[in-house]
């Protein structure tokens, strides 16, 4: 799961009366109810996905997001050293509560309305310039309609002038190229081509990623763990406009669910690592009120071929940072200790943020969170790769 969704969930759950109350006769039974109390679908085991359709929108589910994070680099020239950037581009969809007057959620309207009221689209963009330490972020909220929509046949989601789509809408291969267009007000814009280096990874058991004891709190969690990235980054200041050729690596989650929450969870931590050896790691921690992690928290290794292995982990905060904007105190340097499935040895992974101030201060979504580019070192200080870390629920409890 992408805990950043917490942000959206928080926003949505403030708005939705039935949020998190799944229809479930016996909560402890490992059976999956098929719909929530409202009538939205609950992820079922062993889903049959077809592509490119399932890269697209699933309106029978209540919540869906497409979540890209990555690291970008310019080439060093004789006159200037290489520059490094971190970026985030997130597209959320949220369905309106089903009412007696609305039709079944799976039946999309024949023609999309210009000003619809059945779906909301929220998007977040962020960019870190490591050279200047400048961190930009922006949110956008739109109704489904002329300026925000997503396709039910392929990957094509957009919000204003930001969009994420397949380079070839009909591409049914396991590694289709993606086009991402994003920006930050007038200050920055990027157009990137994302090419999967490995096939899509399905997290969770039997295609269902559980978020807690409640069986309805689950998602289909589809990820391109490593996307070779190339494109153009435009930086605008009053002094002039810079157009930079950039290359790098990105990560993209596509998560589909109708409820992601269990009682007692106050926040989420999420981490993705690109190791220089071609492997990746994904970790999510669901923090409980008493400070411990929910047993549903998971660490997963992805090997060079895309195979996943789970491993136990410990989580240790080395340093903290307090945001001057929101007053929230976030972990700043972290140590995650786990077992490397390749060697069966314990490894200690230290996360160092490329900048401490990578907080999205909240606005439309209502809550602040920290999401930022990091580098990873082993116990001896050797750099192992780059990471993206997400920390939510530190500004205040995500009370549900």
């Amino acid at each position: 799961m992408r805990p950043t969704a917490a942000l959206l969930l928080h926003f949505l759950c403030l708005l939705v009366p039935f949020c998190g109350q799944a229809q479930s006769a016996t909560p402890d039974a490992p059976t999956f109810p098929t719909t929530t109390a409202e009538g939205f679908a609950i992820p079922q085991p062993n889903p049959h996905f077809t592509f490119p359709r399932d890269h697209g929108n699933h309106p029978q589910f209540k919540i869906e997001w497409w979540y890209v994070t990555g690291h970008l680099y310019t080439d060093a020239t004789t006159s200037a050293p290489a520059r490094r950037f971190g970026y985030q581009a997130t597209f959320f969809r949220q369905a309106a509560p089903l009412t007696s007057t609305t039709a079944s959620p799976s039946a999309p309207p024949s023609a999309p309305p210009t000003f619809g009221d059945a779906q909301l689209y929220l998007a977040h963009m962020a960019l870190l310039d490591t050279q200047t330490g400048r961190f930009l972020h922006q949110e956008r909220l739109n109704r489904e309609g002329w300026d925000a929509a997503s396709s039910t046949t392929t990957l094509d989601v957009r919000n204003g002038d930001w969009s994420l789509r397949l380079a070839d809408p009909a591409d049914s291969s396991t590694t289709p190229a993606l086009l991402l267009r994003g920006g930050l007000r007038a200050d920055a814009a990027f157009t990137l081509t994302l090419t999967p280096a490995k096939p899509l990874v399905l997290f969770g058991e039997a295609g269902v990623s559980r978020k807690g004891a409640d069986p309805s709190a689950s998602s289909h969690y589809l990820t391109f763990t490593r996307l070779r990235t190339a494109g153009e980054l435009t930086l605008r200041t009053d002094a002039g406009t810079e157009k930079l050729r950039v290359t790098g690596e990105s990560w993209m989650d596509h998560e589909i669910s109708s409820s992601q929450l269990s009682a007692g969870q106050v926040g989420w931590d999420w981490l993705s690592i690109h190791f220089t050896d071609g492997r990746e790691l994904m970790l999510y921690r669901l923090r409980l009120r008493d400070g411990t992690a929910d047993p549903a928290s998971t660490l997963t290794w992805i090997d060079a071929t895309g195979r996943t292995t789970r491993a136990a982990h410990t989580w240790e905060v080395i340093d903290r940072w307090t945001s001057p904007a929101t007053g929230a105190t976030y972990p700043s340097r972290l140590r995650v200790t786990t077992t490397d499935p390749a060697t069966n040895q314990s490894v200690s992974l230290t996360l160092e943020p490329l900048a401490r101030a990578q907080e999205l201060t909240g606005g439309l979504g209502g809550i602040p969170y920290w999401e930022g580019a990091c580098r990873i070192r082993d116990a001896s200080g050797r750099e192992l790769g780059s990471a993206y870390l997400e920390l939510t629920g530190y500004a205040r409890d995500l009370k549900l």
């Binding site: 009221d117 300026d147 007038a186």
Partner: protein
């Protein structure tokens, strides 16, 4: 002298102040006159400003301020432009903000009587969710759909509110007015809607306060209510804040202009330009009012001059003493000017207070006129700004200094050896002002000025500057020439002298009139000439409009939306509604009219479609230039023909046979002007084409109004009642009630003019009293002698009354003569140049006679009263 206190303050306190104390009523009167003059000007200025300020670009309330706006030259934009715009602007960070706007009116309280001018609203439809993305208002979406208050923080309200259907966000002003009401009943197009109130409009702290008449809806609901499904009135653009904003704004303008295809798809404008257009549209009207408002001040100027001059004469003996004591000329002049300045400031200050009070009344009259002629206004109050404060004081000061200049000079020039006897000859006034030839020269100059063309502004505004100059030259010249008539009157009335000593007494003074007599005549003439001239204009206008109404209104019933309450109203009748009206069994034939606001050469005008055949057959269109043949009336052959109103011709400087390119959604159409008709309903001018073509071009079959011709025997009132029962959102006029309503609106637009004229005449009559007072004060010796000779108080009063009445008669005679010229000027030059309406000349005998009689009678009464007071004057009372 150097050790003594400064001289001028000493002079003021020992000399001027003493006089003021001794004659408090006279001083008060003088201040009062000045105040009235200033008040009228300030009131009109405040009302004008309020009327213009009320033209708000409504979206500013939500967006801060849009950078650019695109809107079609006529009609609406399809929604499909939105994705097209987004695709074209992918590389330009900008918020695209579609807007639907329409008007609505409160439901009429009375069903039996239909009137225009009820409270109307502007309904603004914007995407209330997307508003949140604008930097100006990050909290707006939350506040529009889910208000999180401390106690009722149920955010589930979001979806409930978001999906509830049409609901209104209202201004805090309206919210206060409506109190605990949950819904607002509105007429929109042809339907009455009872719309739920969602709450007050949330605004950013630095955004302009929402105007009381603004109602906000979510965009799709506004489309639905306005009958504009799939259509937009305009799209606004807000460039993202950040670096290179000016360059990006310019680039956006270039892109939008290119996409607009030379104005044929849309015009690119800005909120500032829209406001400017509104200002320009009403500029002529406001300038005309301002000029009229100066009348009272002008009359007041005469009077102040006269009062100060009188004071100089009366105090001449004292001045002579001061001069012989060695007081220099300069100090005396300064003391007098200071006195005038103090009077002026006092008058200005009082005038401000009066003007503010007057503006509260005037603003409604101005607002109604602007509403009827130009656009919907919502003036509820006016406030006094720093500029008005300054202006009022400066006006009072300048007026009194200008008027006091000559008397101060006279005072300073008093020779020390001036005889210390009281009956110094009354000042005969400046030689130039006594010259009849000078008067005639001014009259001739005015005649020349009347021949000059008007000033032209952008957006079709025109201002007849030379025409006004001519009017002033005539009024001044007439005043001077008329003063020279006084000896003639005395000579003409000589036979009377043989009958009565009183008459001899009265006429004796006129035979050798003092400067003060001349001034009183000139002031009164000024007021009478302008009032009578305006009365002639209004009478001519009214007669012309009545004739026009009689000829062009031939149908039995006129039906429009009850929501249409202003010249800019956008309310329509749906196709089903007007078809239902036309299909009523009592209806023989129906004339359907559709009007679109149209922008040509950045100048707003109207494009109207109706059946030209029916127009020809059923009504007697008043032609200015009739079509040369019948082609234009044949719908099979008139696709590229149009009829133009006279105002249109004036505004766009066209003539019959010229062509006009009209942008339509179906592409530009080149129309040849086949004929020109008179139209007094609309100052913007209009083009009239065959409605079938208009419907095809605009793809819009709704109607603005429908005129019904009933079958013989059908009763219009019965049919009207039936139709209104079936369609409660309609306004229906019978032929007679529409005519009456048109004339009512017509008179209403002149109401403020009348008020200004009445004030002018009142000031002039007060001035006459002031003249006589000072004349009598000068003649205290004579009065004593008369009393000694056995004249009673009543006889002296009668003699004074005779003198005053003769002055008034002289002014009335001259004033009426000048008013005829002014009437001609107003009708054929000023009105024609400002509004482009040809009017027939009509002389309102009765009002003019009434005006003359009133002035004469008032003059007699006032003079008699002054005479009675004067008869009691002690021989040697100081002043």
């Amino acid at each position: 002298m150097s050790a003594s206190p400064p001289l001028v303050p000493l002079l003021l306190s020992r000399f001027a102040l003493r006089h003021a104390r001794l004659a408090p009523r006279q001083t008060a009167l003088l201040v009062g006159i000045l105040a009235l003059g200033v008040a009228v000007f300030v009131a009109v200025r405040l009302a004008n400003r309020a009327a213009v300020a009320s033209f708000t670009h409504f979206t500013d309330t939500l967006t801060g301020r849009s950078d650019w706006i695109i809107q079609p030259a006529a009609g609406t934009l399809p929604e499909a432009v939105l994705p097209e715009l987004r695709a074209a602007l992918l590389d330009q960070p900008v918020a695209i903000f579609p807007v639907v706007e329409t008007t609505a009116a409160r439901v009429s309280a009375s069903t039996t009587q239909t009137r225009f001018g009820r409270a109307s609203f502007t309904l603004l439809g914007v995407d209330l969710l997307a508003v949140a993305n604008l930097a100006a208002s990050p909290e707006s979406a939350e506040s529009f759909f889910a208000r999180r208050t401390a106690d009722s923080g149920s955010p589930a309200d979001f979806w409930t509110a978001f999906r509830r259907g049409p609901q209104l966000w209202i201004s805090p002003t309206l919210a206060a007015e409506l109190g605990s009401a949950r819904t607002l009943d509105l007429v929109i197009n042809d339907t009455v809607h009872s719309l739920p109130l969602a709450g007050p409009i949330p605004t950013a702290p630095d955004a302009p306060r929402p105007p009381a008449s603004l109602l906000i809806l979510d965009l799709p609901h506004a489309q639905q209510l306005a009958g504009k499904l799939g259509r937009l009135d305009r799209v606004e653009f807000i460039v993202a804040p950040g670096p290179q904003a000016d360059a990006r704004r310019a680039a956006l303008h270039a892109t939008l202009t290119a996409l607009g295809e030379n104005g044929t798809r849309w015009l690119v404008t800005s909120p500032g330009a829209r406001r400017e257009t509104a200002e320009l549209m009403t500029r002529a009207f406001r300038l005309n009012l301002t000029i009229l408002s100066l009348l009272a001040l002008l009359v007041g100027l005469y009077l102040i001059f006269q009062a100060l001059d009188g004071a100089v004469v009366r105090r001449r003996a004292e001045i002579a003493i001061l001069r012989s004591l060695g007081v220099p000329e300069n100090s005396i002049r300064r003391a007098w000017l200071t006195e005038a300045a103090v009077l002026g400031l006092a008058g200005g200050a009082l005038g401000l207070a009066l003007g503010w009070a007057g503006a509260q009344v005037a603003v409604r009259a101005v607002g109604q006129t602007v509403n009827a002629l130009y656009y919907a206004t919502t003036v509820d109050s006016v406030s006094l700004g720093t500029s008005e404060l300054l202006l009022g004081l400066v006006l009072g000061l300048v007026a009194s200094l200008v008027a006091g200049w000559w008397p101060a000079r006279e005072a300073a020039r008093t020779p020390p050896a001036q005889v210390l006897v009281r009956h110094a000859a009354a000042s005969p006034g400046a030689p130039l002002l006594r010259s009849a030839w000078f008067g005639f020269a001014l009259l001739a100059l005015g005649t020349l000025a009347a021949q000059l063309p008007p000033l032209r502004f952008a957006a079709g505004g025109r201002f007849p500057l030379a025409g006004y100059a001519a009017a002033f030259l005539w009024i001044f010249g007439g005043g001077i020439a008329c003063g020279c008539l006084l000896p003639w009157i005395a000579r003409l009335a000589r036979p009377l002298r043989n009958h009565s000593a009183l008459a001899r007494l009265a006429l004796g003074h006129l035979a050798a009139p003092s400067g003060r007599h001349r001034l009183a005549v000139a002031a009164l003439l000024c007021a009478i000439a302008m009032t009578a001239g305006m009365a002639i204009l209004v009478a001519s206008f009214e007669q012309t409009v009545q004739g026009w109404v009689r000829r062009s209104l031939q149908a039995d019933l006129y039906i429009s939306s009850d929501g249409a309450q202003s010249a800019s109203s956008q309310n329509r009748l749906a196709t089903t509604t007007w078809r239902a009206l036309a299909a009523h069994p009592a209806v023989a034939e129906a004339g359907v009219l559709t009007a679109f606001p149209l922008t040509l050469d950045s100048t707003p005008t109207m494009l109207t479609g109706t059946s030209l055949r029916l127009l020809r057959a059923r009504s007697d269109l008043p032609w200015v230039q009739p079509p040369l043949d019948e082609t234009v009336f044949d719908s099979a052959r008139n696709t590229s023909l149009a009829l133009a109103s006279e105002s249109f011709i004036e505004r766009f400087r066209k003539k019959r046979g010229d062509t006009v390119v009209v942008p339509t959604p179906a592409g530009p159409r080149t129309l040849t002007l086949a004929g020109i008709y008179a139209d007094y309903g609309n100052e913007r001018g209009s083009l009239m084409v065959e409605r079938d073509h208009l419907v095809a071009w605009f793809g819009d079959d709704q109607a603005t109004s429908v005129s019904l011709y009933l079958r013989p025997g059908a009763d219009a009132d019965t049919v009207r009642a039936e139709l209104l029962r079936a369609h409660p959102g309609l306004a229906a006029f019978t032929n007679a009630s529409l005519r009456a309503e048109i004339l009512r609106i017509f008179r209403q637009t002149f109401s403020i003019t009348y008020a200004l004229e009445v004030i002018g005449v009142a000031v002039a009559v007060i001035g006459l009293a002031l003249t006589l007072i000072s004349v009598l004060l000068d003649r205290r010796d004579e009065l004593t002698t008369l009393r000694a000779l056995g004249f009673t108080r009543r006889e002296i009063a009668l003699a004074t009354a005779g003198e005053g009445t003769a002055l008034a008669a002289c002014a009335i005679f001259g004033g009426l003569a000048v008013s005829l010229a002014l009437g001609w000027l107003l009708i054929h030059v000023i009105n024609k140049q400002s509004f482009g309406w040809t009017l027939g000349f009509a002389l309102p005998w009765l009002p003019l006679a009434a005006l003359s009689a009133t002035v004469l009678a008032t003059a007699w009464l006032v003079a008699y009263a002054v005479g009675r007071w004067g008869a009691n004057l002690p021989a040697d009372r100081e002043e």
